[in-house]
Symmetry: C2
Subunit: 302 residues, 2 copies
């Protein structure tokens, strides 16, 4: 099958590789052309516009940063993918964008007889490389089922959440839940440090019970060491929280914990931590807690 991939960033590039490795004919487009060049050696076609990449593709995968990027890739006059796609083709948008925009994109594509699945992912570049992403899908049942053979090359847990936009709602909820879970862990560690306890032993004591979480199991170590190597970049998480907060406001839903975390992330990004892992949130929590900067007192790395 001919598959076009728009956007070859940290997520899009490994996804394109997995699609190619499964034997599909690949055509790629990336705004910064240099990032597309390695795909030429794989035998992929490098297109000059999204429309050119889309021509003849049965499926078009999009993986860019934000709502306006996706809208431009799909609908920019003269160069948008919609000008190359045929009726009966299918767009799978793995970008994290506003649910309302995802619904609008699906409606505009439907006017051309083109299917659409909003399919934001979680699992990071490692998950993309291994093909083990979690994929949250919004689509009609027919479009979801057509997308499945490609989605199965990219991820392991693939859930049809609901109609167009529902995948983006799930992603927004995901980011809200992890935001609060990071804040909760950071406050716990700040309390332990403020009371003079060994954070490693405290975590050891609480990690098997109701305080257990992915965040505790996988990111507490970053917080203890005050070292936040690339994982999920804070500026991208903040972008996702902006979407969640805008959607919440539009729906009249107040989510105060998410507002609290977003404000902390704003300060940290302004201080130059936008490319640090989200767990760097502990720095803001520690500052607010009036603790000195540096690692949390702990006996060894858990």
């Amino acid at each position: 099958m001919r598959v076009a991939v728009l956007g070859l960033g940290a997520m899009g590039a490994p996804m394109a590789r997995n699609i190619h490795a499964a034997g599909h004919e690949l055509c790629v487009f990336n705004r910064t052309r240099e990032r597309a060049l390695p795909f030429a050696t794989l035998g992929a076609t490098i297109a000059e516009t999204p429309a050119a990449a889309a021509r003849g593709a049965a499926v078009l995968l999009v993986n860019v940063s934000d709502t306006p990027d996706v809208t431009g890739m799909l609908f920019a006059p003269g160069s948008g993918a919609v000008e190359g796609l045929s009726a009966g083709s299918l767009v799978i948008d793995c970008s994290t964008i506003a649910p309302a925009a995802a619904r609008a994109h699906a409606a505009r594509l439907a006017e051309h007889g083109i299917g659409c699945v909003d399919a934001p992912v979680s699992g990071g570049p490692e998950g993309a490389a291994r093909g083990t992403l979690a994929i949250m899908c919004g689509a009609t049942t027919a479009d979801f089922e057509r997308a499945l053979p490609i989605l199965k090359l990219l991820g392991q847990r693939i859930v049809h959440v609901g109609p167009p936009g529902a995948g983006q709602i799930a992603k927004a909820v995901n980011q809200v839940v992890i935001a609060g879970t990071y804040q909760a862990l950071a406050e716990g560690l700040a309390l332990a440090a403020g009371l003079g306890a060994d954070a490693t032993r405290v975590l050891d004591a609480i990690s098997a019970g109701a305080a257990r979480s992915w965040v505790l199991e996988n990111r507490a170590g970053n917080m203890l060491r005050d070292d936040y190597p690339a994982g999920f970049r804070m500026k991208l998480h903040r972008k996702d929280l902006r979407i969640a907060l805008e959607e919440a406001e539009r729906a009249g839903v107040r989510i105060p914990l998410t507002e609290l975390v977003a404000a902390c992330e704003d300060r940290l990004i302004a201080a130059g931590l936008g490319d640090a892992d989200v767990s760097a949130l502990a720095r803001a929590v520690r500052e607010d807690a009036h603790l000195p900067p540096g690692p949390f007192p702990h006996s060894e790395t858990p």
Copy 2:
């Protein structure tokens, strides 16, 4: 070994049963004498005062509600356990109390040559009955090791966190972390509901990734159904948060998420939900989010 147990509530009673089942000679005291009567049929002695229960005991286990209760059990003039305990005996206090009080108790007992372990637990009445509690210990190494044979009858994950008081610090951290994790999940569900998504499917989509937690796995169902059967009672969690917030304030540590959750719990307890499971926090979150009361829209019980 002769073991005295003070406090036969939802936690203390099953703990006493496990100690008796292991072949120890049991002497019990409970403020409401009726709760002690079933232990007479087991062959336990029912004492009229903590001091009487303590007489001849090698180990004395305390399991009551709050700091002043423990202080009274141990040190009330004329009836406190310290008046019955011999030098060389050991107090194991499984109550959740202030770390500073735990340190003070240990110091006062040490003046009489009595060892002390603060050993707050998590895992609830089910964990107490099955002997699978998590136990967070603050003690000297010698006292911790002396306590281990009894602790192993009560729990599975037994961690020596640090010196006296350190067990209580770990417990306070535990309650802070779970408070925020509940709030985070409730905000996520409120957002899903506000945006019209099916909460069951959203949870299905996010539960394998970074949003995963014990709270999500074990209490999201309560929130979806708006039904909060006995688990961990909110008024007890609020008591533990009071300890955490008082300790934080004393240490000059601000933990704003914990403050937020404590304020929500105050409202819910005032509204009569003190005996509901902590997951009833979703009611306050939903109210703040301007969502109608009742279950979150969802397709089936996860």
